[in-house]
Amino acid sequence: MSSDSVNTYGEDFDAVLDDGSVLTVEQRAALDTVERAQSTKDTEQPWAALGMKADEYAELHEILGRRPTSSELAMYSVMWSEHCSYKSSKVHLRQFGEKTTEAMREHLLVGIGENAGVVDIGQGWAVTFKIESHNHPSYVEPYQGAATGVGGIVRDIISMGARPVAVMDPLRFGAIDHPDTLRVLPGIVAGVGGYGNCLGLPNIGGEVVFDPCYQGNPLVNVLCVGTMKHQDIHLANATGAGNLVILFGARTGGDGIGGASILASETFAEGGQAKRPAVQVGDPFAEKVLIECCLDLFQAKVVNGIQDLGAAGLSCAFSELASNGDGGMLVHLDRAPLRDPSLAPEEILMSESQERMMAVVRPEDLPGFLAITSRWDVEATVMGEVTETGRLVVLWHGETIVDVPPRTVAHDGPVYNRPMARPDSLDALQADSPARLPRPADADLAGLVLRMIGSPNLSSRSWVTDQYDRYVQGNTTLATPDDAGVIRVDEESGLGVAISTDCNARFAALDPYHGAQLALAESYRNVAVAGGRPLAVTDCLNFGSPEDPGVMWQFAEAVRGLADGCQQLGVPVTGGNVSLYNQTGSTPIHPTPVVGVLGVLPDVAARTPSGWREAGAQLLLLGTTRAEFGGSEWAWVEHSHLGGLPPAVDLEAERSLADLLVTAGGDGLLIAAHDLSDGGLAQTLVESSLRYGVGATVSADAACTRDGVDAFTLLFAESTARVLVAVAAESVPEFTERCERLSVPVVALGTTGGDALTVEDRFTLSLDQLRTTHTAALPAALTL
C-alpha cells in the first residue's frame, strides 16, 4: 500500500476551495493561456509531431477562432486520434446501428456509444459486456500492456454501474517457434493473469492463436462482462449545473503519455523529464479497491454520472462527460493529485495513468461520497463543477488554459472516407484452391490426427489457462476448454449467461465479408452449444493501416458482413472496439474481426458441457460436411497453405441449429455438445473424449455416404453449422424428431465409452496417447 493511495478526508474536502498556491513568475511566463493564444497567433506548434494533419490543425483554428493553446492542442490531438475518434472507421461502423431492427432492440437497454452496451437478461437483471484491444502496448511491454488491457475494459464495465464478473482474453501471436513469440507470450499471459487474478475476476475463456502474420504485432483483446439490476445502470454524462466533478482513484503520473512529452518539452524546456514512458503501468490492487468503492458509491446513490479514465485520460473524461451532459464544465486542473509534481498541464491532460475514475456528484451528496472513498482509502478530489456555459473551461492556478466547446473535442472530430480498393492479390489467393493439395491415405489418418492435435493452434491451451483463476466469485460453471464460458448471475434462480469469442483470421484473409460472418457464426454456435440463447454481440476489429486502401476495403467488407450477419441472426452489436495500424512495415496482419456473443440461460444448471462422462451415449453429428478446406487448419499444418475460399456461410442453418441446441439442452436431452470448427470432426472427437477421459467408437460410413465425402474429408473439413452431440440412447428418437422438425441434418456416428478413440476400419488411438500429444505442444515450445 503506497502512501499515495491513502486519502485524508479533510485535505480533500479542503480542495473544494482554491488551494491558494500561485505560480512563480517563470512558470507564469511559460504557461500558454487562452489569453496568450489570442495575441500570439503565429506561434509555431508541434501539431504534426502530435499526429495531427494540416487540415485538422486548420479546422481547430476554425472552431476556436484562434490558435489552440498547447493544452487544447494536447486534448484535441489525442481525442482526434484514430484510437479515440474512430475517424477512419466511423462511416462504416454506422451500419451496426442502421442494421439493428426494432425487434433486435427488444433486449437492449443501452446501445452503442456508451462505455459499454447493456442487455436485459430477464428477472430484473442486466448484463453489460464489451471487448477491447491493447495490442501495441503489449508488443512494447508485454506484461504491463496486457495487464492494463484488462484494467481498462474492467473500468468500462464498472462505469456502467455493474459489478465485473468475468473476463475472457482472445490472444494472437506470431509463429510458436519465432523468438519474438517467446519474448511476448509469457509476459502477456502473466499480465492477463496477474491483473485479472488480483481483481478476483474469473477468466472463463478466450483464444490463443499462432500465425506468422502477428509476428511483429501480437493481438491482446480482452472481454469483460458485468452484471447489475436494471435500476443500477449508470451513464457517462455531466448534468445539473453546480454538480461537482470528482476525480478519484490513483494519482496522475507521467505514464502513458504519448505525444504530450513533445508539448511539455516545448513548454517547459528546463522542467520535467524529457521522455515519458508511453506504456501505462498497472496496479491491480488499486483497481480492485476502486471496483468495490464504486459499487458502494452506486449502492448509496451518490453518483449522478460516471466515466472511467482510459485512453486520453482527463482529456477524454472532461470532454465526454461535458459533451454528453448539459454541455458545460469548469475544472481546476491544478487540483489533480500527482505522483510526479513536475508534470506540466498538457501532460496531466493526456496522462493515461491507470485506476482512475471521474464522477459527477450533487453537492449535497459530497459528504456521503467522501465517506465511502475514505472507507476504501481511495483519494478523491473535487476538480470543478458542471456549468451551463456550453464551454469546457480548464484552469491552471487560476489561469484559463482551455476554453472549448466540448462536443468538438469528444464527438464532432474529423471523419474520413478513406479510399478503398479490393487488393489485386486477392484473385490469385482465392484461385489457389486447396483442391490441388495431396490428400492422405486412409492408413495415414491416425498419424494425421496426432500431428493435427499436437499442432500449435489445435493443442491444449491448458498451459495458458491454468495460469488464470477460473473459480473466484463461485459462479463459474463452464470455462475453457468448453465451447463457451458460462456463469451464474442470480444465485436463487440460476439465471446466467454464456459467452464465447471467436475469429478465424485466415477465413477473413480469403474473404473479409464472409470471414466476419464466419467469426459471428462460430461464436453464436459456441454459445448455443453450451445452452445459451444468443442475445447480443460485441466485436474487436483488428486490422492493418486504414491508409492502405486494401486494408480499408477489408475493414469495410468485414463490417458490412458482420452487420448483415447480425441482422440475419437477430442479434444486435452493443459495442466494441476498432484497432487499426496492426502491421509490421507495410505488411498488415490478417483482418481479424474477433466476435463475442453473449447468450442467456434461464438456469445454468441446464448448461451442456463439451464432453461426456458416461459410456453408452449415442453420438450424433448435426449438419452437413463438404470438401471445404480453404483456410483450414489441415491445409495450414500439413501444407503451409492458405488459399481458395473459406467454408460457405449458412446463417439460417446456424439459427436452426442454435434453436435445436438451446431447447434440447434446456429440456435435458443433451449429455454433451461440442462445436466443429478448427480441425474439423477429428479435433472435436478428441477434445470431447479427453474432456472427462471417456472415449468413443464411431463409424464414418453413414455420414460419408450421405454427404458424398471420404473419411478424410469427414474428419478434417471445416464446414460450418456442424455440432457433435451425445444423447442418451432412449432420447435419440425424440431428439432426431426435433432435428427433422427444424430441418437440421442428423446422422448417427457411434457410441461413447472405453479408453480410446476408434474410427471403425480406420484407426484406434488410446486416450493416453491423445492426451500426451494434445498437451505437450505448448509447454514444449514455451517453457524456458
Binding site: G200, F285, Q467
Partner: protein, 239 residues
C-alpha cells in the same frame, strides 16, 4: 452459529467463503480489516485474495491490520478455561496466519514460478482439528487450488514436529503443484483450532461450481470442501 469472514482491501474470495458458511448452515458475519472487535463471532475465516495488494511478502501487511490484533489475541495458545478461537486461513489467509505466527512456516513463490489454477487431489491427514473433524483420516478429496505463492516451507525440526504431532492437516496427492515441502497443503496449531491451507475448500461446496469429479473420477458433485465448514459448525455446537 456465527462465523466471521474478514475483508481486507484486496480480499477476493470473501463473498465465496461467506456463501460456503451459509451453505453449511452457519451465519456469515462480515468483518472489516479496520474492525477492533469481532462482533461476537464463534469462529473466523481469513479468505483468499491479495490483501493490500501483497506487493510486499504475502500477508505481511495484513498481519498488522487492526482486526488481526483481536484475532491473534483470541486465537493464541488456548487455556483449559478458554479454548482458542477457531480460525481457518485459506490461501492468502494461510499466508496471513503464518505471518501472524499463529501457524509455523511460510509460503513462498511456486517452484515453477507461474500462478497455477487446478483441481487438486488432497489426502486428509488429520481429523483432530476444528475444521476437519467431519472427515475420515485418509479421505481423498478434490479441492480447487489457485495461487502464485503457495510453496510451504519450514525448517526440518518444525516439519518433523508438525508430522509428529499430527498437525499436517492435508497433503497434496499425486502432484505437488508448488514445491511445498513434504507435499504439505495445510497445517494446524497445536490444539487444532487454527488451520491454514492453500487450496480453496469454499470453491468445492456447490454442485456445478466446483471441481468436476472426486479423486476417483466419479460424480461427487464437486462438494468435497463443504465439510471444512460443517466440521466447524458441529464442533462449535457440541463445544
Amino acid at each position: 452459529m456465527r462465523i466471521g469472514v474478514v475483508t481486507f482491501p484486496g480480499s477476493l474470495d470473501d463473498r465465496d467463503a461467506a456463501r460456503a458458511i451459509r451453505l453449511a448452515g452457519g451465519t456469515a458475519v462480515p468483518l472489516w480489516h479496520g474492525d477492533r472487535e469481532l462482533h461476537s463471532v464463534d469462529a473466523v475465516v481469513l479468505p483468499g485474495g491479495f490483501a493490500y495488494g501483497d506487493y510486499l511478502r504475502c500477508g505481511a501487511i495484513a498481519r498488522f491490520a487492526p482486526v488481526m490484533d483481536e484475532i491473534i489475541r483470541l486465537a493464541g495458545p488456548p487455556t483449559a478455561a478458554a479454548p482458542g478461537l477457531p480460525v481457518l486461513g485459506i490461501c492468502n489467509g494461510f499466508q496471513v496466519l503464518c505471518e501472524s505466527h499463529l501457524l509455523p512456516g511460510a509460503l513462498i513463490r511456486n517452484d515453477h514460478r507461474h500462478f497455477i489454477c487446478r483441481d487438486q487431489v488432497l489426502r486428509v491427514e488429520s481429523t483432530s482439528t476444528t475444521w476437519t473433524s467431519g472427515y475420515t483420516a485418509g479421505d481423498e478429496i478434490v479441492i480447487p487450488l489457485k495461487n502464485g505463492e503457495g510453496g510451504y516451507v519450514a525448517d526440518t525440526a518444525t516439519l518433523d514436529q508438525l508430522e509428529g504431532e499430527a498437525r499436517v492437516v492435508v497433503r497434496y496427492l499425486g502432484f505437488n503443484p508448488n514445491g511445498s515441502y513434504r507435499d504439505i497443503a495445510g497445517v494446524s496449531n497445536a490444539s487444532g483450532s487454527v488451520v491454514g491451507l492453500m487450496p480453496h475448500p469454499e470453491h468445492a461446496v456447490e454442485t456445478g461450481y466446483g471441481p468436476e469429479s472426486d479423486s476417483h473420477g466419479a460424480l461427487s458433485g464437486g462438494t468435497d470442501g463443504l465439510r471444512f465448514f460443517t466440521s466447524a459448525l458441529q464442533g462449535v455446537l457440541s463445544a
